[in-house]
Amino acid sequence: MIRFNNVHKWFKDLHVLNGIDLQVAQGEVVVVCGPSGSGKSTMIRTVNQLESINEGEIWVDGKNVADPKTDLNALRAEVGFVFQHFNLYPHLSVVDNITLSPIKVKGMDKAAADKQAVALLERVGLAHKKDAFPAQLSGGQQQRVAIARGLAMEPRVMLFDEPTSALDPEMIGEVLKVMKDLAESGMTMMVVTHEMGFAREVADRVVFIDHGKIVEQAPPEAFFKNPQHERAQQFLRQLLTPMS
């Protein structure tokens, strides 16, 4: 479903992505983790070309996203993206946030889009908030709406860029639960997160990235119990016992 072939990217002199090779199969849930500045957010943003790449290829659903001939708008419509800071449209109500792109990009009629939006809101547990505005919701609620907005395009893949790192601790669970349900429904997912509980329970594979390189990838059991790479060991130690 997603394939990175030797992907490189530079920000001026900084080599953010240094030869990424990665495959994500259909229905697979891959968690990407790594220290801050390791390039994990940049990497996930290259999948739908919110960040361009300088070298290599990224194939999504059989299309090379770096090829100038690829219709990026059509590709992005099939790839859901959930941001760290939610990025809901503040001037639109919850239901309009969800229906805007199905109506304007896919040409869905309003009644059908509204019906779909309500169904999605039920799925994320927020049907009663459909007429609220984003600024009236908590962070966790906003992020759940953002997930519903992504799902409204019926994407083939969902990408999550640190979906819970801007949330208060008591709201993290509600968002992770929605993501877990989504994974169980068979959605292909790539998730940048530090939520190791989520990785352990939901992921099929954990990818550890450092200095723009994938240094380790393994099923969660193996990754947490027996990390091979020294940097991964250090990272996990710091995550589990941050004060030591």
């Binding site: 739908n48 919110l50 708008n73 059509a74 590709l75 992005r76 419509a77 099939e78 790839v79 859901g80 993206f81 941001f83 800071h85 990025n87 809901l88 449209y89 503040p90 001037h91 805007l100 792109s101 304007k104 990009v105 609220a132 505005f133 984003p134 600024a135 009236q136 907005r149 992504g150 395009m153």
Partner: protein, 247 residues
């Protein structure tokens, strides 16, 4: 000061037809509104396009918009007006020149010049406000819009501009009022708008204080009403839960 105020002057005959002085003020106000409103609509449209251009990726379109702003912002309004009225018509094709200078009613040609002048001058200022309004939005907004498959045009239309215009209503209100005040330059090329009628009343009647007092009151009331109108619009489009909007 020894001056005999005579507020009845406005109801006295001007000596021209059956007109009283108040009729001149009403007609002047009509021209002022006709100049300012038409120029404002054009300025808003042109300025919005330029403002969007300044925020687009790439080099050429932003550079064109920037050059426009620098040109129109750095030349005095009066110089621009004289250019549009006295200089530019001489460079029009011959047929258009004859039409503009001879066939058109002089009031109409002055009107066209001043509307073009104010529209282009104000567009530069509107451009800067639209640009800052767009740039003030969180960067995540355009990323979110692009990520669901919107084109650049749709991103601006449905996501960026509706927010940017809400942000810039207060400075746009100032520009809207400015264009009414700036329209008084039209009196210098003979368009009988409010200021020109005031001067004419002062000269005809010698009641200079009354004439300028009335003009001051009319400009003031006009601008206060516009400001109230803009405040109502601002309240109406305020986003619930944000910027002090109703919860």
């Amino acid at each position: 000061m020894n001056y005999n105020w005579d507020w009845n002057i406005f109801f006295k005959s001007t000596g021209i037809g059956s007109e009283i002085y108040l009729d001149w003020f009403i007609s002047g106000l009509g021209w002022t509104i006709a100049v300012a409103l038409v120029a404002w609509i054009a300025a808003l449209a042109i300025g919005s396009v330029l403002g969007v251009m300044r925020t687009l990726p790439g080099k050429v379109l932003p550079a064109i918009a920037t050059a426009y702003v620098e040109l129109f912002r750095n030349v005095p309004l009066l110089v621009q007006l004289f250019m549009w009225y006295f200089v530019v018509p001489d460079y029009l094709p011959e047929a258009t020149q004859i039409w503009f200078k001879q066939e058109l009613n002089p009031a109409t040609s002055a009107y066209i010049s001043v509307v073009v002048c104010l529209a282009l001058f104000t567009a530069a200022r509107v451009c800067e406000q639209v640009r800052t309004g767009i740039q003030a939005l969180p960067r995540g907004q355009s990323a979110a819009a692009l990520a669901v498959g919107f084109s650049i045009g749709q991103t601006y239309r449905y996501v960026l501009l509706p927010q940017a215009f809400r942000v810039i209503i207060p400075p746009l209100t100032s520009e809207f009022l400015n264009i009414f005040k700036n329209s008084s330059v039209a009196s210098l090329i003979g368009l009988m708008e409010l200021l020109a009628q005031t001067k004419q009343t002062a000269e005809f009647s010698a009641n200079i204080f009354e004439a300028f007092t009335l003009a001051t009151v009319i400009y003031f009331v006009l601008n206060m009403s516009l400001m109230t109108l803009m405040n109502l619009i601002e309240k109406k489009v305020r986003i619930p839960g944000m910027m002090g909007g109703a919860k």
